[in-house]
């Protein structure tokens, strides 16, 4: 059960119960849908990006498991005030962390996101942790197609 305690840390439980930046963002100029058909997670990500490529607004809404909701919540906390380029770097670093491919210098920017590292021990849950991030990636690329983990 130690791995489970590692997976479901206080921060994760807290963010899954009280997700931050939760709800629709009326001013959003990039909206991405995502779903994980395997477990029924469905999220929408809202981004507002100004003319200097700065993320000035971010929120999400939807339903999902503790891992997908907390990951989305933590992600939105990190994104505000970042440039699109920094957001993309964060996506890469987070992806490396969850896939167990992180390098030391990538660690620096991850901050609180490191609580999700335990997911790498549960391969079937990686899709949950990365759903919101793939949606972010799609938003950065301005893809209009919904993101699916399948």
């Amino acid at each position: 059960m130690t791995d489970l305690r590692e997976l479901y840390q206080d921060v994760i439980i807290d963010h899954s119960r009280n997700p931050r930046n939760f709800g629709k963002l009326d001013a959003a100029d990039r909206i991405t849908q995502g779903n994980n058909p395997l477990c029924g997670d469905k999220l929408t990500l809202y981004l507002k990006v100004d003319e200097n490529d700065l993320i000035t607004g971010v929120s999400f809404e939807g339903i999902g498991c503790a891992i997908s909701i907390s990951s989305a919540s933590l992600m939105t906390e990190m994104l505000k005030g970042k440039t699109l380029r920094q957001a993309e770097e964060l996506f890469q670093a987070f992806h490396g962390l969850i896939m167990g491919e992180k390098t030391p210098d990538q660690d620096a920017g991850l901050g609180k996101l490191k609580v999700l590292e335990g997911v790498k021990l549960f391969p079937s849950r990686v899709k949950c942790a990365t759903l919101a991030w793939h949606m972010l990636h799609a938003a950065l690329e301005k893809t209009t197609q919904p993101v699916s983990t399948e």
Binding site: L4, L7, C39, G40, C65, A66, F122, S124
Partner: protein, 424 residues
């Protein structure tokens, strides 16, 4: 091959209400005796697929290693042996569901293929735009999507009969959905997501009174209920081998002979022909007309062994055991704070689908897995059911003849542990 040496030995007096010696049954299933994440496996995902008794494994091994050659072809010894065993398996299936004739038993890959076969060979040639196919809210995707494809192809219309909050089909509403344009009703016998057992006898009677045909999806029913297709008077009955303790990749379509005879072939190829020239091909008689290509005959023979196993113990004995387990499971799960069972039909099979307040099914599934408990989490290929009950996903424990009260206690203990991990 030595089958079940003495079926009566599975019945012992004073071994619980069902009179079945579960430990003896468990000894027949090698896969049950293993550790998962350091814990003894508790296998409660039987509605997805059941484990195999040794007799099925031995049968597969025997036919591949000793009596293997292609069927319905060679005049040589091995081919004749294999053909005989294959046709004997067909007879076992016939007897198992009490069909009137082995010609009414078509071997297919599984329930899904059986339903697609009916959609494409029975419905597609004759259905017109505006004709109606009636299903229910509780259908598995495999009894929804083939009909949607058919509707796209023919302009037919798919109608859905509703269920109540317990997950029971509303028979009056169902009857109101039947109309002059209804051509076919496709309904599950036992719901995989809710456990509901549908009153298929009444459904068939009502439907026939309206001049339409009925397909029954029996994937979940055959391992648990005695099925008599003649007593039911159903037109089509579909099921899979792998949920019946048999191999994967083999299943059955029962259809009334008159229907099969009138239907064009589903696929073309060898095995299903009588004579081929470039100008004209005549087809084999039923059922071979629907079995193009080399069939999965070893699978069918293995399924025959599974049927022998199940009938050796007795479906009544199995049903009794599973029923008392389901009642016990319903009771102990009901004692867990925040746990709500989805699917509380009065007439119900051994399926316990539930949601737990404060823990998503997927999180619960991971925690149960770490405790060695295998359950299914998600939408169970029945997304419209999830929608109807307003839940994104459920956790489903589905019980089989080899499950025990002790295993249900382990399930409950693991759920309590999950609540602790979630600080509930």
């Amino acid at each position: 091959m030595n089958g079940l040496n003495d079926t009566m030995t599975y019945r012992v007096s004073g071994s619980g209400e069902s009179g079945m010696d579960v430990e003896k049954v468990r000894a027949d299933f090698p896969a049950l005796h293993q550790m998962v994440h350091g814990k003894p496996l508790v296998y409660l995902d039987n509605a997805a697929s059941a484990q195999k008794p040794r007799i099925v494994l031995d049968t597969l091994q025997h036919y591949y290693s000793k009596e293997y050659a292609n069927v319905h072809r060679g005049v040589h010894y091995l081919s004749e042996q294999a053909t005989q065993a294959y046709e004997l398996a067909r007879e076992k299936v016939r007897a198992f569901i009490n069909a009137g004739d082995t010609r009414e038993i078509v071997f297919v890959r599984g329930t899904t293929e059986a339903i697609n076969l009916v959609a494409q060979s029975y419905a597609r040639p004759g259905f017109k735009a505006g004709d109606e196919i009636l299903i229910t809210t509780m259908e598995h995707h495999s009894n929804i999507v083939p009909w949607q494809l058919l509707c796209e192809q023919t302009g037919a219309v798919l109608k859905v009969a509703p269920v109540n909050d317990a997950g029971e089909l509303l028979l009056e509403a169902f009857e109101q959905c039947l109309g002059p344009r209804t051509r076919l009703v496709a309904v599950t016998h036992l719901s995989n997501a809710l456990g509901t057992i549908n009153p298929v006898e009444q459904i068939i009677e009502m439907t026939h009174a309206h001049g339409a045909r009925v397909l029954v999806d029996g994937a979940q029913a055959v391992p648990h209920l005695g099925v008599d297709v003649q007593a039911l008077d159903c037109d089509f009955y579909a099921f899979s081998g792998h949920k019946l303790y048999g191999p994967t990749g083999i299943g059955v379509l029962f259809a009334k002979a008159e229907l099969l005879e009138a239907m064009p072939p589903y696929q073309g190829g060898g095995e299903m022909i009588s004579e081929v020239t470039f100008e004209k091909t005549t087809y084999a008689d039923i059922p071979l007309k629907f079995e193009a290509g080399t069939p999965h005959f070893v699978g069918a023979i293995g399924m025959g062994a599974a049927i022998d196993y199940v009938t050796g113990i007795g479906l009544d004995t199995i049903a009794q055991h599973e029923h008392s387990l389901t009642e016990y499971g319903t009771q102990i799960l009901g004692e867990i704070p925040g746990l709500r069972i989805i699917g509380t039909a009065h007439h119900k099979g051994s399926i316990l689908s539930f949601v737990l307040e404060g823990i998503h099914a997927h999180d619960l599934g991971t925690i149960l897995d770490q405790a060695g408990v295998a359950v299914r989490t998600g939408h169970h290929c029945a997304m419209p059911v999830m929608e109807r009950f307003g839940v994104p996903a459920t956790t489903r424990a589905s019980l089989a003849l080899y499950n025990t009260q002790q295993e249900l206690d382990q399930l409950a203990a693991a759920i309590h542990e999950a609540r602790k991990i979630f600080r509930l």
